[in-house]
């Protein structure tokens, strides 16, 4: 089966564009599986966040999937077009990656109030 991932891309302050990638998949595979296939077979510069892949434990892969906030690792690929875009209420870093770390776990905080 074939899925088309229409992905909003670009960095902060840039005009965003949509790149579409076609991936072949087996029923049951996740959107994250599809994104990883895109990187491996087509465009390694595509940026998205994830760590745990199968466990749905890291909670890093949240994005807008067909307009709804969801985890890329739990939503299944489907035939036809799936649109992906970054979380709208978080600062954009690149492509599907947004700043999701709690403020006191960020570098700028560590630099500003560091003890040393």
């Amino acid at each position: 089966m074939r899925a088309v991932l229409a992905i909003q891309r670009g960095g902060p302050g840039q005009a965003s564009r949509v790149d579409s990638f076609e991936v072949e998949f087996e029923p049951g595979q996740s959107v994250l599986d599809g994104l990883r296939l895109v990187r491996r077979d087509q465009d390694p510069s595509l940026a998205f966040r994830f760590s745990c892949i199968n466990a749905n434990a890291c909670k890093e892969c949240m994005m807008l999937i067909d307009g709804a906030v969801d985890y890329a690792c739990t939503v299944r690929l489907k035939e036809g077009v799936t649109t992906l875009s970054p979380l709208p209420k978080k600062a954009l870093l690149r492509d599907l990656v947004t700043e999701i770390a709690p403020p006191d776990e960020r570098l700028d905080r560590a630099t500003n109030n560091g003890a040393g």
């Binding site: 960095g11 902060p12 087996e26 029923p27 049951g28 595979q29 996740s30 599986d33 990883r36 990187r39 491996r40 077979d41 390694p44 510069s45 595509l46 940026a47 994830f50 760590s51 745990c52 892949i53 199968n54 466990a55 749905n56 434990a57 890291c58 909670k59 890093e60 985890y71 690792c73 739990t74 299944r76 870093l93 690149r94 492509d95 990656v97 700043e99 999701i100 770390a101 006191d104 776990e105 960020r106 570098l107 905080r109 560590a110 630099t111 560091g114 003890a115 040393g116």
Partner: protein
Amino acid sequence: MLPETATTHLKTDVLVVGAGGAGMYAALEAARAGADVILAERSLIGRGGATVMAQMTVAAALGEQTPDHWEHHLADTIAAGRDLCDERLAAILCEDGPRRIREMDAWKVGWAREDGHIRQVQAPGHDRPRCVYVDFLSTGPAVSRTLRTRLNDASGIRRIGDLLIVDIAVHDGAACGATALHISTGRIVTIAAKAVIIATGGLTRLYRRNSASSNMGGDGYALALRAGAELIDMEFVQFFPIGHLAPRLVGMDPIMWDPFRYKLGGKLLNSEMREFEESYASRDIRSDGRYVLTRDLATYAISKEVEAGRGSPAGGAYLSFQHVPPDEIRRAFGPVVDRLAANGIDLARQPVEVAPIAHYHMGGIRVGETLETRVAGLFACGEAIGGANGANRLSGNAITEAFVFGARAGHHAALHASKQSIVWSPDAVGPTMDLLRRATRRDTPNTAAVIASVQSVMSDKVGPFRTDGKLRSAIESLAAIGNELGSDPIASSPGGVDPVLVDWLDLRNMLLVAQAVALPALARTESRGAHQREDYPGLDDGWGIHQIVELAGAKLNIKALSRRVAA
């Protein structure tokens, strides 16, 4: 991306690299001993590694369920380790385990209880019920949440996510900090520290079928090697025998079948729908006829069935609960039944397919009893260290190890730092800064595809069953991949979050670490625990020794070390 030339410089007493169970415990304990701490994590604090993904049990001789003593736990650990445990480290693990489990209990992790005591269950390889857990399949998330909360409340700890440590800085033979890439901005960050703790977890991402997160390519082993530290027992990679294979199961830990199998007596079947474990159990000297295979033997049994042409369609074995009444399945699996249904799986009607997947690394950084490496001021803990589990790890020992060695490394690193002033030299970070600044934009090779090819080489040739020919060919292939990759980092676009640059830096580590597994595997001409040589079946008493790997220039050296010699 071409990292920005701008850099940020930070200073601290103790730098902890990696925020899993070991790193978070190390940071807490170092701060408790009065040190100023930076906890650096390439992903999010407490979310990037194995700890948050673990769903099962944690072993400690609490004696809550049945009388127990840490020495019984030690005896089981050593027996499972196939006579290759570093007994000093194993003893520390078993003796300190109960204290840390109780400390976590006091911090409200929520260990499952019954009749007013902490519930302990029996796991394979243990002589009695010894393993605690958090319902429902929540051990790792609960542990991570608890430690994160403690970190929030502690003072003196700066937590920094998205900070990829690229190299440890060494000056005059002592660790003095690190160089890092801040992934979200592309900035280079240098950190001066009086002591550094590597708590980066394991290396199972080197394999195609694994239970790993994307951050488990073995960074810490490469960091240690390049800093001048030694690795030990690197040939022993544990394969989890019944990792989930098919149908595609998303949103769940691939090793989740284990507790249910033991709770409900799930049956392992080959393509003839015949149970086969018993015929391998008789070979286990420890099984005394019981229906219990330790992990290395179960991996062996399934692989041999597949090899004999009796594998399931996806290349593993069937795991069946069809003999169990549906309401019993519901009682045991609870809400998990619904999660399985969402994946189109009904256990009362169909078996699932399982296969050995790379799951844990017994080997690792060589440390002494204070968790210090041979490089002054460089400590390591958690899955990143080697020795405590010998040639095969008992289930439940890994999280205990993360707590116990994490706390101990934190304590000793703080002690070391208290006697030390900051020694900083730009030369200590110069080569790594140069490396990062050499990043150039190139379209080939595709770094993500190269990672997949490393995983294929490792799975096909350095998997659980090895031969001289396969290992030599792996070593050659890995070298060829390294040449293709080149010595200048590949970047894709300016600014932050460059997945190509991160891949390249990961590959720099993965290729080195893959060689550090393959070389001692080639040298060890016997089969022991997780290291099985088809051309050298059976344990050879002459091989009751450790192998040490070190980096000399660009070359990896292997040294043999008699087991009793202390570090």
